[in-house]
């Protein structure tokens, strides 16, 4: 096939592209603000949320040496790790305390094991006052070189020496970095801290040659394990160590397991104790209540939409204003109004008692439970069902019903076999809209739901703003997102998304 050429001899395709480029750029410039806005305020937060739900580098960042040392420890043994782990923990904690990152780590691990937060805070306060100063004193007494900051810096520049004294080099590097970052000082002008001397002592005791000969035989070894246990005997608890070890990888499925009432054990996922299981129930409740709200909206919205589509214009316009009226009122006001109506001394109960349907003694519990949430949310989401239904019904000509009747169908058959199938796309659109809105609804269940009528979103909000367990909130949110996507997919398979119409 020969290439088609434009009048000037260029390929026609290239000419066309050039002619269209300006148009395309202009079109892109028009939507650019929206595109950027969506990217920044929608896509990126969702990506961040998805990431947060598995991110877990705080443990390995804060306690790198401990995590490494724990590799050798068998978490199923039920025993406390050995002295080497405590030595690593000492260095890590001494540094973390300076960075003040130990409290954050404490709160993180506290989600998994209650009490770890205070353990870390307590340890952080006292880690600098360990009895390890005896090591430092011993070295300084042996040679003034050990008290010379510049000398230390020189030693730690010597690769051969670094290889001979790995623990010392590691501890010194950590310390030097901290001195620069936290204290804004020069390491070569500061005398190393006790934990560096402790590392040097440990190196020497395992057979390494110190830079300047020292006789350490007179030094009484300090058990770091004892030191830690003195602060809090929880350090003897294998559970604490197990938790640290389980949560040491950079990425974890712990938040997701937590979201479905599981927890990470030494042998993988295991069920949480009965008393701690809440999320699965909450997810199921959220689903069921959203479905109920959706069902109520269909039942109430369908006849209204039908009226809107079939009444004369004047009347239907008035009705439409009534449907849209709630949008002009704040959501908070509407929800609060339901509080007034539904409470036990509220308008509805008063009326029922006055009519005599309900005895004064046993007024109906209409609020602070699931009933309250369903009533209030049905009301709030009803327009989202009515509007798509209406716009679809508006396109169904009345002649179909007439045709069906002329063919011998009763009113009901004509409706059910002819009108209803054609309104299904509207029902589909309304249902998706209402269901997805309600599954993530927060403010109304919070206000009228009490404890029994809250949704998963309320729990997410709680973790975001009160418990500050953002990882768990992110995992719950991700599951919610996945559930919506799966339902959407299922819906597409069953009804077909092409059958969803918002009008036209």
């Amino acid at each position: 096939m020969t290439e088609v050429l434009a009048a000037d001899g260029r390929p026609l395709k290239a000419s066309l592209n050039r002619a269209l480029r300006r148009q395309k750029l202009r079109a892109l410039a028009l939507i650019a603000p929206l595109l950027i806005f969506i990217l920044v305020s929608f896509v990126m937060p969702i990506a961040d949320m998805l990431f947060r739900s598995v991110e877990n580098d705080i443990v390995s960042d804060t306690l790198p040496r401990t995590v490494e040392a724990l590799d050798a420890w068998d978490s199923a043994s039920g025993e406390t790790p050995d002295e080497a782990v405590f030595q690593a923990l000492y260095t890590d904690m001494a540094l973390a305390t300076e960075y003040k990152s130990h409290t954050r780590l404490g709160s993180r691990l506290n989600y998994e094991l209650t009490g770890v937060s205070s353990l870390f805070r307590k340890t952080g306060r006292r880690v600098k006052r360990f009895d390890t100063d005896v090591y430092a004193d011993a070295f300084r007494d042996a040679s003034p070189a050990y008290a010379d900051a510049a000398q230390w810096a020189e030693w730690m520049d010597d690769d051969a020496l670094r290889d001979a004294l790995p623990r010392t080099a590691d501890a010194y590097d950590g310390w030097a970095k901290m001195i620069v970052e936290v204290d804004n000082d020069v390491p070569a002008e500061e005398e190393p801290w006790d934990f560096v001397y402790t590392a040097l002592y440990n190196d020497v005791m395992t057979g390494a040659e110190p830079p300047v000969a020292v006789d350490l035989s007179g030094v009484e070894p300090v058990s770091l394990r004892e030191q830690f246990v003195e602060i809090d005997k929880d350090w003897l608890d294998p559970n604490v160590w197990q938790t640290i070890k389980i949560y040491s990888p950079k990425y974890t499925n712990g938040y997701f397991l937590n979201s479905v009432d599981l927890q990470k054990g030494p042998d993988g996922a295991e069920a949480r104790p009965e008393s701690e299981r809440i999320y699965v129930v909450l997810f199921i409740r959220t689903m069921i209540m959203s479905l109920s709200i959706m069902g109520m909206c269909v039942l109430l919205g369908y006849p209204i939409a039908w009226l809107l589509a079939n009444l004369p214009d004047r009347t239907s316009n008035l009705l439409m204003i009534l449907v849209l009226l709630p949008f002009w009122t704040s959501l908070l006001v509407r929800t609060s109004a339901w509080k007034v109506l539904l409470q036990q001394q509220g308008v509805i109960n008063d009326t029922l008692v006055w009519i005599g349907l309900v005895a004064d003694g046993d007024r109906l519990q209409l609020i602070n439970n699931q009933t309250g949430t369903i009533i209030a949310m049905t009301h709030i989401l009803l327009p989202f069902m009515i509007l798509p239904l209406y716009s679809v019904m508006k396109t169904i000509p009345p002649s179909y019903l007439r045709a069906a009747k002329s063919l011998g169908a009763t009113d009901w058959t004509a409706f059910w076999r002819v009108y209803f199938p054609q309104s299904v796309p509207g029902i589909g659109a309304g249902c998706i809209l209402v269901f997805i809105l309600s599954i993530g609804y927060y403010i109304t269940p919070e206000l009228v739901g009490g404890t029994k009528g809250v949704f998963i979103s309320n729990r997410i909000a709680y973790h975001i703003s009160f418990s500050l367990n953002w990882g768990l909130a992110a995992a719950l949110g991700s599951i919610l997102l996945a559930v919506v996507l799966i339902l959407y997919w299922v819906y597409d398979r069953i009804v077909g998304i092409d059958n969803v119409k918002l009008g036209g």
Partner: protein, 364 residues
């Protein structure tokens, strides 16, 4: 004649009002024998569709009775009337296939499955759409949809079929084919048909009788030829076909001819139709093809008028010539395109005349 046969469908003094102030249908009387193809013809708003809807049961008569086979159907709901109906926009159910559409009226009548399939097949074959049973209406062309709508209205074998401008949305050629098919089908099956249209050609070519509606009344109810050749009033004369009108006053009536003095002062012969007395104002109506300008073909004593040729239009099968006659510039004559035919030239002065029986003096 047809009027003598027992009425299958009858409207008796039927009135209809939507708002309680204006009558859309005023005192309608109509009776149709079995097997007749009757067309309701009229401009929009003349009440013809309202009549059809009352017959179908979608509108209730404000006053009067509608009888089907001698029984008043005023209080029978539409689905029990057993009347087939074809709608303007076909109203084929878009979510059902063609076969399901046809099967629908049989299903609601609880007819067995095998019987149903047989009837559906027969109805589809009847409209030559046998191969389209599995299609959806949206996959069919307008003409095909119309055929299916027709088959659906006939599949449950109703004795009366109503058609509400069924060919309105089709192009001219297809319309003509379908006109022919519909009339043939209706006559072959012997069904009574009420057909509503505003297209007079359709009405004339298809119907046994045509009811011309205007202003909520039937202006004339007659077979097509009578309607065209012998309009009973000036509305019908104007509405059906092309027509020349001249305004004047009745000068003299003798038997079935009369003499009319036109406003321009000239005298012509005419048949008095709905004028009764001398001195009454009248509109005289002459069909363009009945006007003669060859003096030899006219009676010797026929009155003639002087005319000036304004425009000559060549239309292929005919010539259409516009004349200035008796003060009007819109007088049209039509002549057949034959080898010996004269082609008039603008500016020519000619004399025109006609047979007195072709010229009808109607109400003013």
């Amino acid at each position: 004649m047809l009027d003598a046969a027992p009425a299958f469908v009858a409207f008796e003094r039927v009135q209809k009002s939507y708002d309680g102030e204006n009558l859309v249908v005023k005192d309608l009387n109509l009776s149709m024998p079995k097997g007749e193809f009757l067309t309701m013809l009229g401009p929009s708003g003349s009440g013809k569709t309202t009549c059809l809807m009352m017959l179908a049961g979608f509108e209730t008569a404000t006053h009067g009775d509608i009888l089907l086979d001698g029984v008043s159907i005023n209080n029978i709901p539409p689905h029990k009337r057993g009347i087939g109906m074809v709608f303007q926009n076909y109203a084929l159910f878009p979510h059902m296939t063609v076969a399901e559409n046809l099967s629908f009226p049989l299903e609601v009548r609880k007819i067995g499955k095998s019987d149903r399939e047989q009837k559906v097949k027969r109805a589809l074959d009847m409209v030559q759409m046998g191969d389209f049973a599995g299609r959806r209406p949206a996959q069919l062309s307008g003409g095909q949809q119309q055929r299916i709508a027709l088959a659906r209205a006939l599949v449950f074998e109703p004795e009366l079929v109503l058609m509400d401008e069924p060919l309105g949305a089709l192009d001219k050629q297809l319309r003509e084919t379908l006109q022919f098919e519909i009339t043939n089908l209706a006559h072959d099956l012997g069904i009574t048909t009420v057909y509503v249209t505003h297209d007079q050609t359709e009405a004339l070519t298809m119907s046994d009788r045509v009811a011309v509606f205007d202003d909520g009344r039937i202006q004339q109810l007659a077979p097509p030829d009578e309607l065209y050749e012998k309009p009973q009033n000036s509305f019908v004369a104007q509405f059906i076909g092309e027509n020349n009108t001249l305004d004047g006053v009745i000068e003299e009536i003798k038997g079935n001819t009369c003499i009319v003095k036109l406003d321009s002062g000239e005298i012509i012969d005419a048949v008095p139709v709905n004028v009764t007395k001398v001195g009454e104002r009248t509109k005289v109506s002459i069909r363009p093809e009945r006007v003669e300008f060859n003096r030899d073909r006219l009676h010797d004593d026929a009155h003639t008028l002087k005319a000036e040729v304004l425009e000559f239009i060549y239309m292929g099968d005919i010539f259409r010539t516009r004349l200035r006659v008796a003060g009007t510039d819109e007088f049209i004559i039509k002549t057949r395109n034959a080898p010996d035919q004269t082609r008039l030239k603008p500016g020519e002065i000619i004399e025109i005349g006609w047979l007195a029986e072709d010229c009808r003096a109607l109400d003013a």
